[in-house]
Amino acid sequence: GESVGLHLPTLSVQEGDNSIINCAYSNSASDYFIWYKQESGKGPQFIIDIRSNMDKRQGQRVTVLLNKTVKHLSLQIAATQPGDSAVYFCAENRGPAAGNKLTFGGGTRVLVKP
């Protein structure tokens, strides 16, 4: 989840395939995680969230996996569609000691090829 400046990591995926986007976090006190999707010219749009007492949560075509042992979060998108093309951000709440702020990672660009 480190920022990479102007060069976002990019995931190219064929339409209909599954996508997996990964995010690493460093703070073991983080207790709440969110995935956001951002399309060009728009604000981040909520996709799915998970709290630290869970390791998996499913939504419509999306699944979030949380591995607290290695501090890793992933977003799986099933049957990727052209409308899924966007930048995806993971965000973590680092707990009361860090002010309970939602802190964003650097983002991954997903390009869906028809």
């Binding site: 604000g43 965000a91 309970n100």
Partner: protein, 114 residues
């Protein structure tokens, strides 16, 4: 429209000028947040309001930046003596009660300082 509304969507100003950016949160949301997003990066926290008060302003970069929320609803982010480095998208978000829940973002204000 029941979402977070930000005005203007675009603001072009000259170095040294004063600007105000407005945010209308979702009705009934007590928590309001300002983030700043530079090109190719994730949103960075600026300030968080709980009701009328700034609960956490640790992300404001310097004293040229100030934000208010006088009636616990609409918020204004104010930037004095703008610098070219202030150019970014300024995002506002709101949530029902506080930071340990999902944030709903507006589309942002693109600020360009010439």
């Amino acid at each position: 429209g029941a979402g977070v509304s930000q005005t203007p969507s675009n603001k072009v100003t000259e170095k040294g000028k004063y600007v105000e950016l407005r945010c209308d949160p979702i009705s009934g949301h007590t928590a309001l947040y300002w983030y700043r997003q530079s090109l190719g990066q994730g949103p960075e926290f600026l300030i968080y309001f709980q009701g009328t008060g700034a609960a956490d302003d640790s992300g404001l970069p310097n004293d040229r930046f100030f934000a208010v929320r006088p009636e616990g609803s609409v918020s204004t982010l104010k930037i004095q003596r703008t610098e070219r480095g202030d150019s970014a998208v300024y995002l506002c978000a709101s949530s029902p009660t506080g930071p340990n829940e999902k944030l709903f973002f507006g589309s942002g204000t693109q600020l360009s300082v010439l």
